[in-house]
């Protein structure tokens, strides 16, 4: 297995089921490849950081001034 394929399976595994064959060949590749082990570790942590962005999304707000402006422009176009 190439590192290209290994990293693909590492990501596929995060969003979907992988086959037994994919599981075994990835496992074997990781035993012999230090760079892909690093990739796997980085990727997992990156995945967690990405998910942590979610709770901060709700801190995004529009100002009250803008909302009033919006109400007016929508009423005119109605």
């Amino acid at each position: 297995m190439s590192c290209k394929k290994a990293s693909y399976i590492i990501e596929k595994r995060e969003v979907s089921k992988i086959s037994l064959w994919e599981k075994l060949s990835l496992k074997f590749h990781l035993v012999i490849c230090a760079l892909c082990r690093k990739y796997e570790s980085d990727s997992k942590i990156l995945g967690k950081i990405l998910k942590s962005l979610h709770k901060h999304q709700h801190e995004t707000h529009l100002s009250n001034e803008y909302k009033e402006e919006l109400k007016n422009s929508l009423k005119i176009s109605e």
Partner: protein, 183 residues
């Protein structure tokens, strides 16, 4: 108009949610505001056909989603890093290219996810992704939605999803490493 709409009430109730959704996907406050306005306008126009099967908020978000997807269809940015940047095409084919190989130093930030600068750096990296990937990455990797749902919404197959997640993660991992770890 047979069904009455209280526009002020709509804006008060839904504008923030619509804006947060749009902003997380377009990274441009003005563009996001335009989307909010367009969504309300479309909502006012088609409220007659709203069957009440979902909440008004869900219905408006659905309108907004379509608008964002159309927007990116129209202007698909070419921000894709070719796979040859990461993996060798000569010699040991498919092996990591040394200069862009993972350094494995993400574990240094394991307990610092709420760090504002880290989040900003990651948001910058996200904004550098091709537009079409961005929405998929937000839905799947940030909001952790069901994969089948994400595929349906973005009209892609599951193998499209695997390829996009793989390419996006390769690109994000390298981007954040450069912006954050080596800063």
């Amino acid at each position: 108009m047979s069904k009455a709409i209280d526009i002020s009430d709509w804006v008060d109730q839904y504008a923030d949610a619509l804006y947060a959704y749009a902003f997380s996907r377009v990274d441009d406050a003005d563009q996001a505001k335009d989307f909010v306005q367009e969504t309300f306008l479309a909502g006012i126009k088609s409220f007659e056909t709203f069957e009440g099967k979902s909440s008004v908020k869900t219905w408006l978000i659905a309108i907004l989603k379509r608008k964002i997807i159309d927007f990116y269809r129209q202007k698909e940015a070419r921000k894709t890093t070719p796979l040859s940047h990461f993996f060798r095409e000569k010699g040991r084919v498919g092996h990591w290219v040394m200069e862009s190989a993972p350094q494995g130093n993400y574990n240094e930030i394991e307990n610092d996810f709420d760090n504002k600068e880290l989040q900003e750096a990651l948001n910058t990296c996200l904004s550098l992704l091709p537009g079409k990937w961005k929405g998929i990455v937000m839905d799947k990797l940030v909001e952790d939605k069901d994969s089948d749902e994400v595929c349906k919404e973005h009209d892609i197959t599951s193998s499209n999803l695997w390829v996009i997640v793989h390419r996006a993660k390769l690109q994000l991992r390298e981007c954040l490493e450069k912006k954050w770890m080596n800063a």
